[in-house]
Symmetry: C2
Subunit: 201 residues, 2 copies
């Protein structure tokens, strides 16, 4: 990339870092590599990211944030609670499936990076379950869901659908039956949230 | 092991194979290693298992069968359907957790072997979901569950609880919150199976 007079923002550095990762895989994306790609001095990158680890953590966060921001937009939609929950979980599966399918090499690269940055991944999962909690809470208020503890239930929904968003399973998302399997889990969970408590048999 | 005059059965060979795996990890357990451990000629092992691949597949099947046989005993218990389903899923989680916790090295060894023998793993999953289907079918007959297609629902229950039996997650089973997370998923699923269908909101 040719030297440029544009202001060097953290966002521009991270954009270039993702491009370096896309081209060269997870081993690359050091401060030196990124500075070279941007045609700037190492020092000007170091001003934003003090270490290679900080740079790699930030680019991982940016990658995950793209998903959580897209999902956050859904939380605000004017929908019946059950439709909203369905749309949110479908969007989560679609977003992960698209990331894995459209650019498998970059997805594999970010799987290495998420493995290195468990703190960022934990935060990402916290954000997603907070969004789910919000949807459940709204559904309880509107009388659509019967849930004792929306936070516990949100985590349960997140765990129960893990097969359809945990990158570990990315290889199975292309299978023709994946969508039907996802729908079956979703239907069962929605029935569980909707159901009035009945005494055990 | 000293030479022996006991009849050399397939079961004795597989027992010895598991012992070799326990001691030396997944790289070992060739026909030659196992024959040596048994103090018999290679030929007498080959009579039961023609190739190293066949031996490794059989020992993997034996390892997985121990779980499915223990679970099969539960299917026949005289219990209310919901209790039965709960006991079965708890037993599955317990069995996997015990295998992973009691002998982590052997568990890691068998994780390598299951990775090599996906056909055996698929059969194992088919057996487990067949048992689950049986429990759901019985529950439908006895009016405890409302399920349109017990096979589809069984698979959904299996997928939704994957976090608590898929070896990929073994590392998370020791976390103190694992049991509560499992219980939350189980409660939600049972409510979903129990629930009468209500129109969508």
């Amino acid at each position: 990339m040719a030297p440029t007079t544009e202001t060097l923002t953290a966002e521009r550095i991270l954009e270039a870092t993702e491009e370096v990762l896309r081209r060269h895989g997870p081993a690359k994306a050091t401060v030196v590599d990124v500075a070279r790609a941007l045609g700037v001095s190492h020092g000007s990158v170091y001003r934003h990211f003090r270490t290679k680890a900080a740079l790699r953590e930030a680019v991982t966060k940016r990658w995950l944030d793209r998903t959580s921001e897209a999902l956050f937009a859904i939380v605000g939609r004017d929908r019946a609670p059950e439709t909203l929950l369905r749309e949110w979980l479908c969007a989560l599966f679609d977003a992960k499936r698209r990331k894995a399918g459209d650019d498998p090499e970059l997805f594999a690269t970010f799987s290495v990076l998420t493995g290195e940055n468990s703190r960022v991944v934990d935060q990402h999962i916290e954000e997603l379950t907070a969004q789910l909690t919000e949807i459940l809470r709204d559904g309880i208020t509107r009388g659509a869901f019967v849930v004792t503890d929306p936070e516990v239930a949100a985590r349960a929904v997140f765990h129960a659908t893990g097969r359809f968003h945990d990158p570990t399973y990315a290889g199975s998302w292309k299978r023709p039956e994946a969508q039907a399997e996802f729908d079956a889990v979703l239907d069962l969970l929605l029935r569980g949230l909707r159901a009035a408590d009945r005494p055990q048999h």
